[in-house]
Each structure stands twice: as C-alpha cells, then as structure tokens.
C-alpha cells in the first residue's frame, strides 16, 4: 500500500514537473514579444520602449529562461501561483472563480452523458444486433462524429434563436448551463454508450456463467453480481478519462456560449501572454488528470481485487 502510494506520488511529481516545464518552454519560445503583449493587454495602447523595458523587467523576462522558470515553479510547491502579469492580481482567486463555473459545467456534462448512455446501452444489449441495438450504435456514432463547436452552434440555433426556449450566452442563471451541458454531454454519451454496450456484451460471455445460469440464480442477480462488475472495468476507465477531457472540452464550449470559466480564462491568458495565469490553468488541468488517474486506480481495486495484487 505504502509502495503503491509512493509510486503514485512519484508519477504525479514527474507528470506535474514535465507539464510545468513544457508549458513554460512553449510560452517562452512562442513568436512575438511577451512584454508587448502584456503591455497591450494592460494599457490597450502602443507604448514607448522604456515602458516595455519596465514591463519586461517587472515580469521577470530579463532574468533568462532558467531563472524565470525556477522563480515561478518554486512557489508552486506551496500552491502559490503568483500574480497575473497583466492585472497584477493574485492568480489563485481568478483560478478559483473560474473553477466555480467550469467544474459544475463539466459535472453536468458528465451527468447528461451518463443519463443518456446508461439506459441506451442497457436497452441496446437486450437484443444484440436487433433494431434498437442498431439505432443505439447509429446514435453513438453520430454523437462521436459531430464536433462540439458545431453541435453547440446547432443547439443555439434551434433552442435559442428559433424557438427562444433557452438562453444561449452567459452564465447568469442555471438555465444558462443547459445548452453548454447538453453540448458536452452528448459527446460523452456517444463514447460511453459504445463502451457500456460492449462491456456488457463482453461480460455476458464470461466462461463461468453457464455453471450458474441454470441453478435458480435470477437474471437480476447474474446481472448485478457477475455482469455489471466486469462491464464496469472499461467503463470506469473511460468515465475517468471523460471527466478529465471534459475540463478541456469546456474550453471550447465556454467560448461558444460566452461563459466565464477556465476556458475563457485560458484563452484570454494566452492572448495576453500572461505567463503565470496560463501556467496555473495548465497545472490545474494536469493536477485533475493525475487525481482522476488515482481515483480510477482506487475504483479498479474496489471492483476487481486482482488488480494491484501479485500473480497467484
């Protein structure tokens, strides 16, 4: 157990350090003068060389790559993300405010995906190859093929522009989250439906089932005790990955629907070369991936005690 925990922490440290370094290196070497971009964002005007030089000094751009990298990465250990190069304010409050919008949206997307995919997949497996199964596969394929930005626009066109049933832009009320959550959730539903369906069909082919099927064990008990736990293993993997990717997916969806959140924050930070803010969002995303991976690992072990054990 302790060995597993140390292994996890080591992996997490490698992933987070690697992410921090690569992001910093990419931003540092991006074309254009970061000081100019910060100045434009801060004052919305072209400024003199003296002011640009002052900003360069202030943002630590004169210190050289390694010095700048370490001066930023050091305080990160105590969760000090530094100050925004543009606004001069602490990064952490902006980050927390953005998470407040993004995290519930990602969760809502995941909930929509699960609510659609679970019954769809279960009904599809009632009669594999039957009409409903084919329809479910077709819906899932269609869902996977439609990009989020196009689906989002279609939903806006129908529900906001033509019928006026739902608001499209902003995040003032909970109803503002319906269309973004649907946009995210339909994509999730597509991949979840396919994986749950194939998981159930695979689990039903387990070799030990004939030995118990005729012993009076009900189909409900077989489904609950034997099929579901086996079908859950690939589903948990995808579920975790979807959760992590949803945070990424919200970047586009937030921009389409004009919502505040991590996506909008990241896009603005990249445009203005706000190093500390970009870094903070990227590190947070990496942290989510690492945490989700740990959660998947734990859930795996709860479902299947063989995982993590030495071979018998």
């Amino acid at each position: 157990m302790i060995k597993d925990l140390l292994g996890f922490m080591l992996r997490a440290a490698v992933v987070l350090t690697g992410t921090a370094f690569i992001t910093f290196a990419l931003l540092w070497n991006a074309p254009g003068d970061p000081a100019q971009a910060i100045a434009m964002a801060r004052y919305d005007a072209l400024l003199t060389e003296e002011v640009i030089a002052l900003i360069r000094e202030e943002a630590g751009l004169n210190a050289g790559f390694w010095a700048a990298f370490f001066s930023w990465v050091g305080p990160l250990v105590v969760l000090d993300f530094g100050r925004s190069a543009v606004s001069g304010q602490e990064v952490l409050p902006s980050l927390l405010a953005a998470i407040f919008y993004t995290f519930p949206l990602a969760m809502a997307g995941l909930a929509v995906g699960t609510i659609i995919s679970l019954p769809l997949a279960i009904l599809a497996t009632k009669k594999p190859g039957g009409l409903f199964d084919r329809i479910a596969i077709a819906i899932a394929s269609l869902g996977a093929a439609i990009p989020a930005y196009w689906l989002g626009l279609l939903l806006i066109l129908f529900f906001a522009v033509q019928t006026g049933w739902l608001p499209a832009m902003g995040a003032r009320t909970p109803t503002h989250a319906i269309l973004p959550a649907l946009t995210l959730g339909l994509g999730v539903a597509a991949s979840l439906t396919r994986i749950i369906r194939s998981g159930i069909l695979e689990a039903r082919r387990q070799p030990f089932l004939p030995a118990i099927k005729r012993r009076g064990v009900s189909s409900k008990a077989i489904g609950r005790d034997h099929v579901a736990p086996h079908a859950a293993i690939p589903v948990v993997t995808l579920f975790g990955l979807e959760l992590a990717f949803l945070l990424e997916g919200t970047v586009m969806v937030e921009v389409i629907f004009g919502r505040p959140g991590l996506g909008t924050l990241l896009v603005t930070a990249i445009e203005t070369r706000d190093f500390p803010l970009v870094q903070a969002v990227v590190i947070l995303t990496a942290l989510v991936f690492v945490t989700v991976n740990l959660a998947i690992d734990i859930v795996y072990r709860l479902i299947d005690p063989r995982i993590g054990e030495p071979d018998a």
Binding site: P207, F208, A211, I212, R214, G216, D225, H226, R306
Partner: protein, 241 residues
Amino acid sequence: MLKVANVSVKHGAAVILSNISFSLQPGKTLAVVGESGAGKSTLIAAILGFLHPSGGKIAWAGASVRSCGPALVMQEPRSAFNPLLSLRRSVMEPVIAQNSEISKRRLNRLCEGLELPAEILNRRPQEVSIGQAQRVGILRALIAAPPLVLFDEPLSALDAVTQKHTAKLIADLQQEEGFAALIVTHDLGYAVAYADEIIVLKSGRIEEVATPTTFAQTPKSDYSRTLRDAAIALGALEASS
C-alpha cells in the same frame, strides 16, 4: 427422468449432433465418450438449454430441464468461477438462489470427501490450484442437492489418488441423494467403473449404447472397439480375458 428424443443440432450447414436419443433415470449415471469434436459438450449445452436443437425434444420429468435446476461441473476449473468473488460466495450462490438451507455438516462432509480444507473457500479462484478449483466446482454442483448433474470431464485436473476419492464421493452421494449424473469424459476407465450405461459418440451420432461390461469386453461397433483398445493400451482399462 431426463429424456432426450431425436435431438439434432446444426450450426449453419454443419451437423453437430444428429438424431440423439437416450434417457437417464434418477440415481443412474450415463457416461458419454468419444473423440474430441464428437459433440459431447454440445450435448451438454443443448440439455441445459444454452443452444436450441434444430430438431427433437429434451425434457426432465416432462418439463423443461431448466425447471429442475441442473448443476454443471465445467471442464476448465479456473474459468468456472467468477474471479472477483470468493469461492465460498460462488459455492453458496445456488443455495442462496434456491432459498434452501445447507447444514454445516453437509458442507464439511463434502469438503472432507473432496479433500478441500474449509479455509480454501475464503480464497478466490486464481488463488488455488487447478485441481482444487476442480473439486470446488464439484462441491458447488453438489451442494444444493440437484436432481440432475452434468459433469464435463470432472476428474481431468486431478491426480490419480484424488480422482479415485472424488469419483467415489460422487458415487456415494448419488446413492444417498439419487441424482441423475451425465458424465462427459475421455477417461474410459472412470466411465466403465462408475457408469450404468455408456454412449459412444462419433461425429455427432451415437455409435453405440452399451453397458460398461459390454463396452469393456464386447463392443459392437468398430469405433467403440478402437476406443476400448486404445484405453487398454494406455492402461486405463484392463484387457478382458
């Protein structure tokens, strides 16, 4: 009574079983022998209702076989259990499902007869040897005293001494409880020693139905004779005088 009447099973154009008929009385043992691919396991699947015969009828006491809660001892012992559950949970599953109660004495007696330390049931299938898993499979089949037990190579993973003990335990329990046993096996010595009747299958057809004595001494068909002679050559059967 298990009654199999004119059963045929086809897979596409291929005939897997052709016009199979036999009956099996409670308390009796029927051994089905024959080469690999003869249709022995298909016969078990058809009896249990896992595949639908293209012709003929299979019934237990005039009703469907499924209604009597038949037990199956599978050929591959390790894959016969859910790897996520303890063996105890797997063994007790039919008991719980049938709302029946099993005395501790019966469980202990079966475990003793099968040479299974009780502690083994707390393990999962991948934590025991193949031979132990095989015996737990037999335990699971017999625990709830089913009226019909289908054995698919029940002794194949056991050493000679355990084979002998296990075969005797099955026979003793059958005497006491009167279940009908259908045993699919390549072990002709076991079939001759314990079966009341032997069916020889070849390419999905019944070559011969014989008593163990007839099969061992004066088999009628050429194929039965070939099988018998091979078993004698390997020392599984004694040559008749």
